[in-house]
């Protein structure tokens, strides 16, 4: 790897911590961002020559803080520019600052940085875009491409989000235990939203948008380093790893959806699965089940099955029942119905599905699953109707194409029957 690649890697890795500390100093997102950018520029000039500092984050915080203070002074025309040599000579100060960065301060700083992106006034897409810009350090162009919008539209969206956040006022006091738990929950929800933005992509968009999954996993690991003993954080990170591990197998060469039971499991990502399973093992020891852990446990059962036929459906149905208890939602019940169809048959599944019709009438998967169950029971006409409604609700061409296959099959069978 080239020096420059190493340097950019080091800057990206130090970013959340450095940005978080700079935000605490300046209490202003824009000043913190400018300070970090200035520090990064100086790092690009200094590090290749002098070698990287022992603690890149501490270096960036100190240089960024000084640079921002200089800039404030310069604007006030009070002080002359300091020489760069003076700023770069940070050995003693760096050690001192590094010590102070190690404690709980640092944890609350980074959590705060993530949390201000999750302001409830911000729509989900703005929360995610802000986190990608501020915490992950993606450029506006990169974020725009991942969201499939123009760069200026994304620039506007992020600027608006920043204004809202600034107006709302970030919470700078040290959080109490209950507040910390609330912030953590909001941040976890945002990270999973980010993951799903990438995960729900399909076809030609999938490679572009799967970068969002990588960023979400990176944030999950960051959160885990801050809260190493939180089982739900383990569950969330495991869930994302286990789902993303299937990325290469989820679509065929033409971009069409490949159902899990038909996926080539040798294309699943082994190390990602290993990491996800390790995290689930750790989480279970805490005996504090939560929605993320249960979903991860379900994904783990799939990951542990060498073939689709080996899937432990009774256990999966049981886990969905537990998930219904932790996170009651018709979508969860729909998923349980799919598991039940494998253990008790389509009849039992349909009995679970029918009562959901009112609440899920606008949900693509509801009609898709219902159609599949009806088809299984030989009720082709009703199945056809359900599939037609599903197609009308498909969000991506791949989803529509998948349902189209079912309809084609019904039509082919009907044609065959009529010729007999």
């Amino acid at each position: 790897m080239s020096d420059l690649a190493w340097l950019h890697g080091a800057l990206a890795a130090a970013r959340p911590q450095a940005m978080a500390a700079l935000l605490r100093y300046f209490r202003d997102l824009n000043i913190a961002e400018e300070a970090f950018q200035e520090a990064s520029l100086r790092a690009l000039r200094n590090w290749p020559e002098k070698g990287p500092p022992r603690d890149p984050a501490a270096w960036l915080i100190l240089v960024g803080r000084n640079a921002a203070l200089d800039s404030v002074r310069r604007k006030a025309r009070e002080a002359p520019l300091p020489q760069e040599v003076l700023i770069s000579d940070l050995e003693d100060a760096e050690a001192d600052l590094a010590e102070r960065l190690d404690g709980a301060d640092y944890r609350d700083d980074v959590l705060r940085l993530l949390f201000i992106c999750c302001h409830p006034d911000l729509p989900a897409t703005q929360q995610i875009a802000l986190a990608l810009r501020i915490v992950c350090g993606l450029s506006v162009g990169e974020i725009a491409r991942a969201f499939l919008v123009g760069e200026s539209a994304m620039e506007q969206r992020i600027t608006r989000a920043k204004v809202r956040v600034a107006r709302a006022g970030a919470p700078f006091e040290t959080p109490g235990a209950a507040e910390r738990a609330e912030r953590l929950a909001a941040v976890m929800a945002m990270i999973y939203l980010l993951f799903n933005e990438g995960y729900s992509a399909s076809g030609g968009e999938a490679p572009l948008r799967s970068a969002l999954c990588d960023e979400a996993i990176r944030l999950g690991r960051l959160l885990l380093r801050l809260f190493p003993a939180e089982p739900e954080v383990m569950g969330l990170t495991a869930l994302m790893l286990l789902q993303h591990a299937r990325a290469q197998a989820r679509f065929d060469a033409e971009g069409a959806i490949v159902l899990m039971e038909d996926q080539d499991r040798t294309r699943w990502n082994g190390p990602m699965i290993a990491e996800g399973l390790a995290l689930i093992d750790k989480a279970v020891r805490h005996r504090q089940p939560g929605a993320h852990q249960i979903q991860a446990a379900i994904a783990a059962l799939h990951a542990r099955s060498p073939r689709a036929a080996d899937t432990d459906w009774p256990q999966i149905a049981e886990l969905y029942r537990a998930l219904e208890h932790h996170m009651p939602s018709p979508v969860v019940t729909l998923n349980r119905a799919v598991a039940v169809s494998k253990t008790e048959g389509a009849d039992a599944a349909l009995a679970l599905i029918e009562p959901l019709g009112e609440r899920l009438s606008a949900y693509f998967h509801f009609h898709g699953v219902r159609g599949a169950m009806l088809l299984d029971l030989g009720r082709s006409a009703e199945a056809r109707e359900a599939f037609d409604r599903a197609i009308a609700l498909a969000r991506t061409p791949a989803e529509a194409a998948h349902i189209r296959q079912h309809i084609d099959r019904i039509q082919a069978e009907a044609a065959q029957a009529s010729t007999k």
């Binding site: 790897m1 020096d3 690649a5 190493w6 890697g9 080091a10 990206a12 890795a13 130090a14 990287p52 022992r54 603690d55 190690d102 990176r218 690991r221 960051l222 885990l224 380093r225 190493p228 003993a229 383990m234 990170t237 082994g270 190390p271 290993a274 990491e275 390790a278 995290l279 750790k282 020891r285």
Partner: protein
């Protein structure tokens, strides 16, 4: 003499590599691995999962305490290790330098091995 080469690097940096970057580093390292293997000097090699997957058993209390995370919170983390047969420290350093050229950044700790039990795992054991 058997030496362990313990590989330390910032997990946040290594974890941030794209797949292409990671593959490129592994490919370069593999050249060094092949050379050592051809000389019959390469023992077991392991790349560890992130420290977030680690669990620590503190055995200085009774019963031992199980803690989430790695034993030590450090700026750079233990990410893997090699076992290499070397005549002396100079030769071990030579190996470490070569590995370091293939994979710059971080540090290698060279530790001679006191007791070594050879592996009883099947040759193709999966992680």
């Amino acid at each position: 003499m058997l030496y362990t080469i313990l590989c330390y690097h910032s997990e946040a940096i290594v974890g941030g590599w794209s797949k292409a970057q990671d593959d490129a580093v592994m490919e370069k390292l593999d050249v060094v691995h092949q050379k050592l293997a051809a000389q019959g000097r390469l023992g077991p090699v392991a790349r560890l999962l992130p420290t977030s997957a680690a669990t620590t058993l503190r055995k200085d209390s009774d019963p031992p305490l199980v803690l989430d995370g790695p034993f030590a919170e450090t700026k750079e983390q233990l990410l893997g290790f090699y076992i290499v047969d070397c005549d002396d420290l100079d030769q071990a350093l030579e190996v470490a330098r070569e590995l370091g050229q293939a994979n710059p950044g971080g540090a290698y700790e060279l530790r001679p091995i006191g007791v070594y039990h050879s592996s009883t795992l099947p040759i193709d054991a999966n992680p």
